[in-house]
Point group: C2
Chain length 338, copies 2
């Protein structure tokens, strides 16, 4: 068990609006051999997620803000390369929340061993078989109460949560699934690969009109990753008794202006709509149910996925910014080489 150098991305100052590289700093840490009870993990994939932008602000939220000097915490998968803990021998694949670093050494209790399934890459634990998939599943079931036959509209449908949500909605019996995305290529992917019944490019015209065209009989369930004009369009198209699950509002994360609220919230009353915001941290109790369902679907070859890979821990910030701008299809990941 030799010493090893870890490269870590830390928060240097709080971003205002769109983050810039100067808001982060790259620090190296040299680890000695693990102390009793510790393990050393080399990451294979590190996740960059929209919710991280919120944690960079110093405001009350569902997860505490990052402190200046903190490593950007978040999900990552890797493998134990040195161990002083019997529970996690060298070679064990693990999931953890240590975030933007290539190597991390810490108490073994901070890592969770994950079962490796032949043919399924570890990275899936960071999206379809992990938090992202669970978010899509909980949003559709627990939050929106989706029923068979429902027309479901998913904004930001070509992203990590969206590609999961569209497929899960169809597998759970949705009558019609509609998605929005930001390029013609993504729109084509939604209908050709992900089973969406209709999709449109929100950059090509008013969302409200494009959604009305795609959902002539109205929308029963809206799964929102975007906010802004997508939420307003959904409110305009909702059927009586419709349910809106608010998962994200990426349009608002990097703006310094106060976001404009939808002008048609009165539809909440006249159409008896329900809107519920959620974050996955309150719903980990659904993980076993989700894992069983999703593993079954994977086993049956029913789940497609995409990964957009950026190589090298030094490019984490770029990967994060690209994801926030919608450059990814499916899950954006940072891959850590040897």
């Amino acid at each position: 068990m030799n010493n090893e150098r870890s490269t870590q991305i830390r928060l240097a100052r709080r971003p205002v609006g769109w983050p810039v590289h100067e808001d982060f700093e790259t620090v190296t840490v040299d680890y000695d051999a693990p102390a009793a009870g510790e393990v050393r993990v080399r990451n294979e994939f590190v996740s960059v997620d929209p919710y991280m932008r919120g944690r960079m602000n110093d405001v009350r939220s569902y997860v505490p803000p990052y402190q200046l000097g903190d490593v950007i915490a978040g999900a990552a998968v890797g493998r134990v390369v040195a161990s002083a803990a019997d529970a996690l021998p060298v070679g064990t694949a693990v999931l953890h929340q240590h975030g933007w670093t290539d190597v991390i050494q810490a108490d073994a209790a901070k890592f969770r061993a994950i079962e490796e399934v032949p043919g399924l890459p570890l990275s899936l634990r960071l999206h379809m078989l992990g938090m992202t998939g669970l978010t899509a599943y909980v949003g559709l079931t627990t939050i929106a109460g989706m029923r068979a036959g429902d027309t479901v509209f998913i904004s930001g449908a070509a992203g990590a949560v969206g590609t999961a949500a569209g497929q899960i909605a169809k597998l759970l019996g949705a009558g019609r699934v509609i998605g929005s995305a930001g390029s013609p290529e993504k729109v084509a992917l939604l209908t050709d690969k992900y089973g969406y019944d209709a999709a449109f490019n929100y950059k090509e015209g008013a969302v409200r009109k494009q959604l009305a065209n795609a959902a002539p009989d109205g929308v029963d369930v809206f799964f929102d990753n975007v906010g802004g004009d997508h939420l307003e369009a959904a409110l305009a198209s909702m059927n009586d008794g419709g349910r809106l699950a608010l998962c994200g509002a990426i349009t608002a994360y990097n703006t310094t202006e106060r976001p404009v609220g939808p002008t048609n919230l009165a539809n909440m009353i006249t159409r008896s709509l329900s809107m519920q915001g959620f974050t996955i941290g309150s719903h980990w109790d659904k993980l076993p149910e989700f894992t069983e369902q999703m593993s079954g679907w994977f086993g049956a070859g029913k789940i497609a996925y995409d990964e957009t890979i950026v190589d090298g821990i030094d490019n984490s910030v770029d990967a994060f910014l690209a994801m926030m701008r919608g450059a990814n299809t499916g899950k954006m990941l940072v891959r850590i080489g040897e």
Copy 2:
């Protein structure tokens, strides 16, 4: 059974913004003796309600719009004065939906006999013991899932629904009930007569700041009759897991501009909030439960109420407009004399 003349207020044209007298017409109808199965009812009290403004517009909503030439339909209570229907003999007190008229003659099936309770005026069937009370009850229980100990904020608290909601919240065990109203007199009434723990005048300062002062530990349930800055203020003060019942948005009913939505809807996500709009028409199944509860509270002397009375069917439009401007305390009613 002599002939009798009925005075009726009908919709003459669709209002734009605030209704004006020219949007209505007064028509007289001479009734012959009731035909078989018909009764004639002289109204004692006619209700004017905020939701009527929506029905004056020609837009899709939960109740069909009034047609031009229609009597303004709505709740009224009166007494049978001529009858050709065994089920409703002369003298029976009835509740019906024929609206803005002093005398109405129609099929007996269109009227519901109501039990008269000594000491309780018939007019209560139009508010505390009727739709208004039921609206408050359903909003707090079915929609907002109020729990004992909750801090509850009610906007437009001195109105018909608000005076009911505040008392019901306390009787159901709310920990702290806060109300907003539009005059110092109403604010005093909320705390002195209606049992509110705190109240403020929304015309005296920013709602957001006044609410934050009145609810230092945050708000668990918001019962909204107002919309606009009240909704934004509530979103700012909601505790994690808070529930918002949207009952009305009177600020928006008479504006010709597109209403501005709340700028802080993102709190729905970060605080796991639920917002549900409702109209009472979908919740009549709760009427027996509500009636039993409310009758018990009345019997125990636990319910206060106010009525703001305007005399004469010819003044219905004025009563309606005054109610929309907040001139009423408690329930606004049109009283029909002999």
